[in-house]
């Protein structure tokens, strides 16, 4: 009688489908990945005015040194106390360039009404930043 001992098969985990699994996972992570890149308008606020230390000083600035852009509650803008009116982006650019021709170091003071929207303020600050102006003052009334 031929009773042979059965040969033991070599044990192995099949790895041929490993790359399929890996690619499947890649596709999942690629689809769900969201690169959270932060982009925006960067501003450096002034130091808090501290009346008691006497460090602050008032300066009287003329129209040739500072331009007041007052944004009223409906989004209209008053330039240096002129009657407020609507400004398109192009008009704002032209105004800024005109003021810069008067004085290259012009300070722009953006006074936004508490009832005006954040969007109105950003619209103006964006145009100022587009003209490479660093001297921007933000305040409210």
């Amino acid at each position: 009688m031929n009773i042979g001992r059965k040969r033991k098969g070599k044990a192995a985990i099949p790895t041929s489908s490993m790359s399929d699994i890996a690619f499947l996972l890649i596709v999942f992570f690629m689809a769900t990945t969201k690169f959270d890149v932060k982009e925006g308008i960067r501003i450096v606020l002034p130091q808090a005015a501290d009346g008691s230390s006497g460090k602050t000083q008032s300066l009287a600035l003329t129209e040739n040194e500072m331009t007041r852009l007052q944004i009223i509650e409906d989004g209209r803008i008053s330039v240096n106390n002129e009657p407020p009116r609507h400004f398109e982006a192009g008009e704002l650019d032209a105004l800024i360039q005109q003021k810069l021709r008067v004085n290259q170091q012009m300070i722009f003071r953006v006074i936004t009404d508490r009832e005006a929207t954040y969007n109105d303020m950003i619209r103006v600050v964006d145009r100022l930043k587009a003209a490479d102006i660093e001297k921007i003052s933000l305040s409210t009334n």
């Binding site: 890996a22 982009e39 925006g40």
Partner: protein, 144 residues
């Protein structure tokens, strides 16, 4: 007679044994770089941010984000708060603590574009009190 035999054409194959290594490398990259965005009740969607042209990249590693919603709720460190009077100094206190941990702190605002400026002004005053003076207003890039 010379023995001219036709050369047997060899089988051409691209080695694919390292394919899974490449796949796992890519997998690791995406796993590490994935940020699962958790949507909460207090959230200002990207579509609600204002539009701007002159925007710059803000380095992420020193930033903290403050959300300001249209109803004037402020969200800092996932804690909602409001500024109703000058006694509400939660924002300032939180920022003083954060500023101590990271002196190069940049505060990013994710504000709904329809928010009234008054609340933003109040928050910025508290930022000045906390000596965190570098701020960034997050905006969408205008596509013309």
């Amino acid at each position: 007679m010379a023995n001219i035999k036709k050369e047997k054409s060899r089988e051409v194959s691209i080695p694919s044994s390292s394919m899974s290594d490449i796949a796992f490398l890519l997998l690791l990259f995406f796993m590490v770089s994935t940020v699962f965005v958790q949507e909460t009740k207090f959230w200002v969607e990207r579509e609600r941010w204002p539009m701007a042209d002159s925007i710059e990249r803000i380095p992420r590693n020193h930033t903290t984000t403050i959300y300001v919603m249209r109803d004037e709720t402020i969200l800092i460190d996932d804690i909602p708060t409001r500024i109703e009077s000058s006694d509400d100094v939660f924002v300032a206190n939180t920022l003083i603590r954060k500023k101590a941990e990271d002196p190069e702190l940049i505060v990013c605002f994710r504000t709904d574009r329809e928010t009234k400026y008054g609340v933003m002004s109040d928050v910025m005053r508290q930022l000045q009190d906390a000596q965190t003076l570098v701020v960034a207003f997050e905006t969408q890039r205008r596509m013309d």
